[in-house]
Symmetry: C2
Subunit: 407 residues, 2 copies
Amino acid sequence: MKIIKTGGVTTPVGFKAGGINCGIKSNGKSDLAIIYSEVPGATALLTTTNQVKAAPILWCKEVIVNPYKQAVVVNSGNANACTGEPGTAAVKLTADKMGEALGLQSADVLVASTGVIGVALPVEKILAGIDALVPKLGNTLENGELAAKAILTTDTVMKTIAVEVDIQGKPVKIGGMAKGSGMIHPNMATMLSFVTTDVNIEPALLQKLLKETAVDTYNMISVDGDTSTNDMVTVISNGMAGNSKLEENTPDYEIFKEAFVYVHKTLAKKIIRDGEGATKFVEVEVFGTKTKDDARAMAKSVITSNLVKTALFGEDANWGRVLCALGYSGVAFDPLKVSLVFSSQAGMITLLSDGVPIAFDEDEAKKVLSEKEINISVELNEGDEKAVAWGCDLSYEYVKINGDYRS
Amino acid sequence: MKIIKTGGVTTPVGFKAGGINCGIKSNGKSDLAIIYSEVPGATALLTTTNQVKAAPILWCKEVIVNPYKQAVVVNSGNANACTGEPGTAAVKLTADKMGEALGLQSADVLVASTGVIGVALPVEKILAGIDALVPKLGNTLENGELAAKAILTTDTVMKTIAVEVDIQGKPVKIGGMAKGSGMIHPNMATMLSFVTTDVNIEPALLQKLLKETAVDTYNMISVDGDTSTNDMVTVISNGMAGNSKLEENTPDYEIFKEAFVYVHKTLAKKIIRDGEGATKFVEVEVFGTKTKDDARAMAKSVITSNLVKTALFGEDANWGRVLCALGYSGVAFDPLKVSLVFSSQAGMITLLSDGVPIAFDEDEAKKVLSEKEINISVELNEGDEKAVAWGCDLSYEYVKINGDYRS
């Protein structure tokens, strides 16, 4: 697999994109993005499990019944959630306008929104924006980056990726863009992620692959424990790489899958690195559980614990809070069999070894925890399964951002 | 029911208490408390559901098999959790010393600890402290307050209560003391609560009553979502009021129950009012659900949401986050049937009425949310059940306290 140093949704063959400010964001930052495929693409979709679903989410769930899509339109600055009938109507008008502007059926179009909940969507700005943006769509790197920037809200950086693999002698590319900074606690994922690929694959297999992939990527990140009303991940694969249709359980599929998982995992981690107010990027690895679900529950429990997160912000080697979080994860285990290590580029300290607290040097601990990227590894000694979760610390900045942002 | 303006664990007949500093806390604050009943009392006990249980918790679960206890010893400043064999031995030595000093069996004694996890308990200080404290035990209000202060950690105030009811022409009193400020997310309750009463009741009925009571009191509070390793609530009833043994489903029982629930609910709310860094006391009432469990899950979800908590800190009427928290509570409901109101002493604003967002005056909202005590009421229109949860906001102070406190 080759990682394409700068790439995104326009990297695979046959995809165009773009982004502009259509007037939703009063500060002039871009707020409208489009991704377009020259031909219809087999499409996979995952959406939030929150009972309260934004109007665009409901639209996507409806139209994905026919799993071939050709365009996505995304606005930021307004989630179009809890906006009643007008919100629903706005989505339809948006899809209709996209169809008209691009020569598609409305149902060929996915719609997404992100931003403040409960404020009416200024749809007339979106409609005018679509008319202005469509002629500007292009397949360059820059076009892709304009789209990637237009979907951001409290994010401080755009999150893009592109990779290439060789399948049957043909280059197959996967590109992606994502957003998400606060209100991050995937189930499926509190964020928006759009992935394009030119691979040739059946939609059912693509959906299966996406669903599996989300479990250990987007579903294993947390910034603050809140699962949003607007979560969405979608993958459009337009087949323009020209490979023979991928079949499960073949070497070609495995090659694609490895790259696919890498793309989603990287986007998920990029979201965490940009977590609201985050000063630390934290990876929690749980080993030695009876089942994978056990490991996931435990890793998520640690990464979500406010007390662990504040300790990490304070660079305090407070392993008791980690153990406490493991203890209320819902998984049965014997505390006397647990080993626990904190590590970073600066070194490693063992806090617990088979249930026994190990005396450690506070200065060494401080050195390890002063790094931006921290790893917490836990061995339960109950079985052979493992899981990884990613998160960040809880800082004053998080409180400041969220005490002040109507979102 | 009469609320006794200043009272606590020594208010009921036949109870003594006291508190001193035995040297665990280096700042000289008191850290050792004892409650003693002149005669053995029917005892009820609830302990943490965290898989990781402190050594004293394990002791209590063992000895409660015989549900009559006569004393409790509590130390603060050290949780005696994750302390291995030495920690277990320390509990036994403590109970033995209490037995020796008070003329009891070791198994007549409950032991509790609260404070930092993973640090060896300096048991010799506790043993010496017991010898020093026992002669000082008394049944005055002051003795009770000394005990109430000795169990505190990051709390800024002691939490006590006492009430009196009339049963069969006899006064029956219930008194209590509790602690808990951070690491609060009951399941059963992340805190210590000790309640004394002179009522005459069978232990089995008392346990049943305590278990029921905890569900809508301690289990409905949250400061930060972390359930600790040391949670415990215990009630000792020594029968010295002289009433005929309480029988379920009788008017006398109902009179006692009402007072009992009031005591625990008040202690639970006092814990929240003193939540680490809290500037707001928040009550979330959920009405109109199909089941009580639904209502509880939804109320807890809202009170625990970091995004709701930070919005309240910022005095921002961000109802979208409340709806979002309801949406990921796990309970199915129709967002289009929801009504939502924020209120306080300063007034009331309606945010949603039967699913429709209601335009509100931002100044009015600011006025309502500037108060210290906020009520969020949600009507689901799905049934007739309801529940209430209490919590607090998430502030810079919380981050500061927990970024700096090894606990």
